[in-house]
């Protein structure tokens, strides 16, 4: 238990060093991993897995998953990503998914925020309201 706590603490410090202006710096991550893999300090495997977990969570914060009922097409996709960048004020990686279950509209997820403008969501809210 103690080991895992130490690993968490070290991983947190490493993450702090890797994040610059709210973005994960890829080259620093690589450098950290190289250092850990070659130096093999005590409990390094635990540190790496805790570090990987934290980096994944950090990356998810600036990763957008955009679902739509029908494929959006190049220009629309680019404008959605540009809008998101403007909103968050940082670089956003994006991933587009085709999900017919939405019936229509779009559902955007960035980190743990979800903007839902899908027809399915509206219908569900209507059902809740009418009860």
């Amino acid at each position: 238990m103690k080991g895992s706590k130490d690993a968490q603490r070290i991983a947190r410090q490493l993450l702090k060093a890797t994040v610059e202006n709210g973005e994960v710096n890829g080259s620093t991550v690589k450098a950290v991993l190289r250092k850990l893999a070659t130096g093999k300090p005590r409990g390094y495997l635990g540190v790496i897995s805790a570090y990987a977990h934290l980096v994944r969570l950090e990356l998810e914060k600036s990763h957008a998953v955009i679902e739509s009922a029908s494929p959006l097409g190049g220009t629309l996709e680019a404008s959605v990503v540009a809008d998101l960048k403007g909103k968050y004020g940082k670089q956003i990686t994006s991933e587009f998914k085709h999900n017919p279950e939405l019936l229509g509209g779009m559902r955007v997820r960035v980190g743990s925020d979800v903007w839902d403008g899908s027809v399915r969501n509206r219908l569900e809210r209507l059902r809740e309201k009418i009860g």
Partner: protein
Amino acid sequence: MSNILQELESEIASLKTSVTKSNVGVVREIGDGVAKIEGLSDVMLNEMIEFPGGLYGLALNLEETEVGVVLMGSGLNIKEGDEVRTTGRLLQVPVGRDMLGRTVDALGAPLDGKGEIKADAQYPVEKIAPGIIARQSVSVPVQTGIQAIDAMIPVGRGQRELIIGDRQTGKTTIAVDTIISQANQNRAAAEGKLKDHKPIYCIYVAIGQKLSNVARIIQTLENAGAMEYTTVVTEAASEPACKQYLAPYTGCAIGEWFMDQGEDVLIVFDDLSKHAVAYREMSLVLRRPSGREAYPGDVFYLHSRLLERSARLSEKEGGGSMTALPIVETQAGDVSAYIPTNVISITDGQIFLETDLFYQGIRPAISVGLSVSRVGSAAQTKAIKKVSGTTKLDLAQYRELQAFAQFGSDLDEKTKATLDRGARIVELFKQNQYSPIPLELQVSTLWAMQNGHFDDVAVEHVKDCQLKMEEFLSTRKDELMGKLRDEKAITDEIGAELKTAVEDFKNNYKSPTGE
């Protein structure tokens, strides 16, 4: 028809343009009724979390990268990777007058099959207790209808009086008797027989009880006609620990609504030991550090914040009150265990029930020495105060002398008189369950005892004499009893009439052996 269509269209129009923003998370781990969620960056403490399939959970642990959510139902259909979302709502329950006569669960949903409950408002389950300015001191009595309590350990409106004792000593019975007594008084007041009586509504919260017990209590309340003034909140032993943990707070929220309307409420928590156990279970599966007896560190706060919500509000705040009767079970009479000492220190007194007394046939088995009410005689009517002033002292002296008297037969007159008086008071305070005694009859019998009218009745016949006297007074001396009920004091005139009435009865009284 057109109205419905219009409404539907306006609803659709209001939904047309909006894109909803929500905060979501992903289930990473689930088991023992607790889910660990990743994400949920905007979650609040105690917020309701919506799971797929309409299941809700309560966010109790906010950690660095995870949120510990306790499920309020069966989590059998929840899988790792499921998406959950925040609702932006702290846990709320429906409250209102419609709750009376109903049996609900910890979320305020009806369990009695009597249809939907029309709520007057939604109240948060967790609420900060009223402050000092909003309160006033306790001075109006709650007539429990149990003679020993009303005479020696008076309970006032807004007080918190703990009922503590081993299993099977009649703790629940005292609470149920009190509820029945309130119903009787409410009914009498509604019929115009009781002057200046503010009704007391009752809430019975059953935590981790056997369902058969709860059903029996509801039946008892129904038979006594008390259910129409009562709400039962129940989370049986088979329910998840989270719901058992919430039940008393839900009861409190229901009571607070009445209190905010300026009305008086009595709430029974049956029992807080099981509540603490449910909370311990929840805390342990949430991996919170455990302390004494494996209870978490905040088990004191768990009960103090609940019981502090009982109050008597000032006239400016409406003058409502909430009286709490928490129940705690002890093991082998040990009041120094963790939970009993905690709750004893929070409450304004305790009624301690003893197994030994119970099996000696002294029921209710109230231990006079260990029971106390810290509000004291401020919460007694003048009449009761006058006739019961020395009763507790008399009984304490009796208990002390009783031990000595066992060794010797030659006793001086004074000792003998104290012993005789004590034995008769003990008899007088024996009372059948579910039969509360109205104030005027309590006063009359205690007056008769104080004035030596029972001294010539053999100890074993005191109960019989008392019952017959009560019958005589309530049937033949109705007018006198009415006066006593209205005045709530023994004036010179009432005293004289009472003397004539009791003497009248005593002249015609024949004990079962014909003496």
